[in-house]
């Protein structure tokens, strides 16, 4: 890729006002609590998301206790079981994954990687976090509400979500819907920021096609989220009205336990369409940032440019666009007009093509690289394996007729855990090991990191790979227990017990990770400004950790694309994006 310098080298006159006294925070409170610095907000988002994520992890242990050793824990009854799986799912998908990738990585990396001083609307950005925190607190409150949290399943399908046969129909569902509404409001404040910042605040020379793929992933995911979350928003508002004020958006005439309820004329399938119009892009809201981050991890640690950068960018955009026309593949057996199946199966399988291109390009980046098996790189390679596995099983479920026997079985559970649970979380870990030195100035401990990596990767694979076969057998998901079903052999129970034990070990490894995060804060090896010898701008800041305003007196000027690794003729095996072309010796 030939890059020509844009304008003269050096700062652009008049592009920035002189430092203003009012710009920087003056008190501890405005610096660390009600901070408008995207980096602090990112840490707040990530910390909150990881904290609530740990709640979800504990819930997953309870799920595995019941499935692996049914009856051994009498305090987990059917009501509790359904409440546990619902909260586990919702927390993981929305409050952890979405929040960490966009609120966490997005806030930290967007300004730094594009060479901006901050988000363009810092005050709204701060509000975004506080509204998110409120949403999390409302969600947590449902654990303590009369009747407990909702047990409707994370998909919250009406009518059952608001009827008395489902646990948490009293307050749990109300708090859940209120929390989702708050989350979406908070996210929108942040999302507007991410999009406008990427479009308006890039450093001189940072053209769109010179942006690191991390930014492309986060940017595209944010656009998707801004378009998709409103569908969930209206769905949540309508269901709240159905529950609290007796409207019938989603409620047909219903006879519940012999009693006719005061509902009529609504349609439950409408909610499913709204939910999945949000729900499918949501998969890519999580996946696209992971795609971007993993591209940068692989390129940096293989000391090689990402293969096919332009194709990678267009694949991200194509996947993002297609993700809006595939939602009903979650509804093949929902009772919607079955002729929809032809359309949605075709669009769904078409998505496999750009997705496969991304996988090929990651793998081809490794080819003839100079692979440093650092902890972030290990996580990135593990991502390729698990994402490949989960993506391929998506071809079963997307192909409408194959989905018929598999839908709502453990095959689906195994598939989506592999592809949007395990794979993105491995990227989150890889990203944290990669950027922790920039955030704190210290490295994470490598031995603890290796232990964390191997247990998590191999354990997660052992948990979810065999689970597909239980689904193939016909074991349904969301079953409190599977006893008394003749088509399920006794050996399935042994496999369930095995999966549970592995899951506990994987969970325990996360304690090692948290301990590493805390310990390295003080005892980690000092990292310096650019420990990985990376090219992208966030590693070229004058201070580490970067100060408020990021760049000191002058904004950086960008001269090249983000993947100038191992350029022939260059003295070092990396050329930072802000290194002028003439200073690099033989310019590519």
């Amino acid at each position: 890729m030939v890059d020509t310098p844009i304008g003269a080298a050096g700062p652009f006159p008049g592009s920035e006002p002189d430092e203003v006294e009012l710009y920087h925070p003056h008190s501890w409170l405005t610096r660390y609590v009600f901070s408008q610095d995207a980096k602090i907000i990112a840490i707040q988002y990530s910390g909150t998301a990881l904290a609530i994520g740990f709640v979800a992890l504990v819930l997953s242990w309870l799920i595995r206790l019941q499935l692996g050793f049914p009856g051994l824990f009498p305090s987990i009854g059917p009501s509790e079981y359904y409440q546990i799986i619902t909260m586990h799912g919702m927390i993981m998908v929305v409050y952890l994954l979405t929040a960490v990738f966009l609120g966490g990585f997005g806030n930290y990396l967007i300004p730094l990687m594009i060479g901006a001083r901050d988000m363009v609307f810092p005050y709204v950005n701060m509000l975004s976090y506080w509204v998110y925190l409120l949403a999390v607190l409302v969600l947590v409150a449902s654990f303590f509400a009369p009747g407990g949290p909702t047990g409707a399943g994370w998909t919250l399908y009406p009518p059952q979500a608001i009827l008395s046969g489902t646990p948490g129909h009293e307050w749990g569902i109300v708090l859940m819907l209120a929390s989702l509404i708050l989350f979406i409001i908070g996210f929108t404040m942040g999302g507007v920021n991410y999009v406008v910042t990427v479009l308006q605040a890039r450093a001189p020379g940072m053209t769109l096609m010179r942006m690191p793929l991390t930014i492309w992933g986060i940017f595209t995911a944010t656009v998707l989220a801004l378009l998709a979350f409103p569908a969930l928003f209206v769905g949540a508002v309508m269901m709240l009205l159905d529950r609290l004020f007796g409207t019938s958006f989603f409620m047909p005439m219903i006879i519940e336990a012999g009693q006719r309820l005061h509902y009529g004329g609504g349609t439950p399938i409408l909610f499913q369409h709204l939910f999945w119009f949000f729900g499918h892009p949501e998969v890519y809201i999580v996946a696209l940032p992971a795609f971007g981050i993993v591209s940068d991890l692989i390129s940096t640690h293989a000391r090689k440019n990402i293969f096919g950068y332009r194709m990678m960018v267009w694949a991200i955009i194509a996947i993002g666009g297609l993700s809006f026309v595939v939602w009903a593949h979650h509804m093949y057996v929902s009772g919607m007009n079955p002729y929809f199946g032809f359309f949605f199966a075709t669009t769904t399988l078409i998505i496999a093509v750009p997705t496969a291109i991304k996988v090929y390009n990651w793998v081809l980046t490794l080819w003839r690289g100079d692979i440093h098996l650092t902890v972030p790189m290990l996580f990135a390679i593990a991502f390729i394996v698990t994402f490949l596995n989960g993506g391929l099983t998506g071809l079963f479920l997307g192909n409408v007729v194959v989905d018929v026997p598999l839908s709502d079985t453990l095959f689906v559970v195994a598939h989506f855990h592999m592809v949007m649970g395990v794979a993105p979380i491995l990227v989150i870990f890889g990203g944290i090991y990669h950027w922790y030195p920039k955030v704190t100035g210290r490295m994470l401990d490598e031995r603890l990191g290796l232990l964390h990596f191997w247990v998590t990767f191999l354990g997660a694979y052992l948990v979810f790979f065999p689970m597909h076969y239980l689904g193939l057998l016909g074991v349904p998901r969301r079953y409190f227990e599977i006893t008394g079903l003749g088509f399920i052999p006794a050996s399935a129970a042994s496999l369930n017990a095995f999966i549970s034990v592995v899951a506990f070990v994987v969970g325990a490894a996360q304690v090692v990770f948290v301990a590493n995060l805390i310990r390295s804060l003080r005892h980690g090896v000092p990292a310096g400004g650019n420990p990985w010898h990376a090219t992208t701008l966030e590693w070229q800041t004058p201070d580490t950790p970067p100060r408020h305003g990021n760049w000191g007196a002058r904004l950086p000027v960008v001269y090249r694309w983000p993947y100038d690794y191992s350029v022939p003729g260059a003295a070092e095996d990396f050329l930072p994006q802000n290194q002028p072309v003439h200073a690099a010796g033989a310019a590519p």
Partner: protein
């Protein structure tokens, strides 16, 4: 790392071949679904194995050694073009049979016998056409203690319908069945793993799917869409038997007239019927 990756690729294949967990023996005409699934297994399995082994090779061969330098190769249109084309072909090879089978799935044969499956928290009931060979009208409005499935008492076609409330569903062997699904409360899903086919049951509308039982026996039906706290315990049974046995079983069942042979309740029904008419 490379070694582990090889183990993952080969271990996954070995697990696939040796695992005792596989689908239930099929008992319907939907062997096509199994075939499509097998094709998908072959294609995706090959892709998975090849790619993971390739990553393993790269990790082993190009792992950092002192003095090593990566090659500089931003892109290769040719290679990317080829890979895109091969992928598209592979995807088409799965999609084409899938859509062909789906075309059969959505088109119910003209000779299919209608059977109604009614779901409510947390049990299954069934209705079979009587001597007239067709199911009478029914709606949630008509449900009462005497009329558990909500048949329209004024539709003559419903008089001879066979009501199975709390009993197993029987089906004749080898005859296509169109299952009509109704619910009075929440979303359910009727699934017999041996039949492969399934469909959600949505309150307020009638959904359907079809299949032909091809094997005699008693099969378990489960609810496969979360429907409240007893979802996991909502089970039913389907007995598939040859036509003569089926006939003799059918003759012993209660019809709607047996259920409805109660004192006159016409006024309330009339009011209900008017409301239904208005709704429509």
């Amino acid at each position: 790392m490379a070694l582990i990756l090889v183990l993952i690729a080969l271990g996954s294949v070995a697990f696939h071949l040796l695992s005792p967990w596989w689908w239930t023996p099929i008992a319907s005409n939907w062997g096509y679904i199994d075939t499509t699934l097998i094709i998908t297994f072959w294609i995706t399995g090959a892709v998975f194995t090849v790619l993971v082994l390739f990553v393993a090779y790269c990790v082993a061969r190009f792992r950092h050694r002192p003095g090593q330098k990566a090659s500089y190769e931003p892109e290769s249109r040719r290679l990317e073009g080829w890979l895109t084309a091969v992928t598209a072909v592979g995807v088409a090879a799965m999609l084409a049979p899938g859509l062909a089978v789906w075309a059969q799935f959505v088109r119910v044969p003209a000779n299919a016998a209608e059977v109604e499956i009614v779901a409510q928290q947390w049990r299954w009931s069934y209705r079979l056409p009587g001597a007239d060979g067709r199911l009478g009208a029914a709606a949630t409005e008509f449900v009462s203690d005497e009329n558990p499935l909500g048949l329209d008492p004024h539709d003559p076609a419903s008089k001879d319908d066979v009501i199975l409330d709390g009993d197993d569903l029987h089906l004749p062997l080898g005859r296509p069945v169109k299952a009509l699904l109704r619910s009075f409360d929440v979303v359910h899903d009727f699934y017999v793993p041996e039949f492969r086919a399934k469909m959600d049951v949505i309150p307020g509308m009638v959904t359907y799917f079809w299949f032909t039982p091809t094997r005699s026996g008693t099969f378990e039906a489960i609810c496969n869409e979360v429907c409240g706290v007893n979802h996991y315990a909502m089970r039913g049974r389907v007995v598939v038997e040859p036509e003569p046995q089926y006939r003799s079983w059918l003759d012993q069942q209660k019809t709607f007239s047996n259920f409805a042979a109660r004192p006159e309740r016409a006024p309330r029904d009339a009011a209900l019927r008017r409301r239904v008419a208005d709704d429509r």
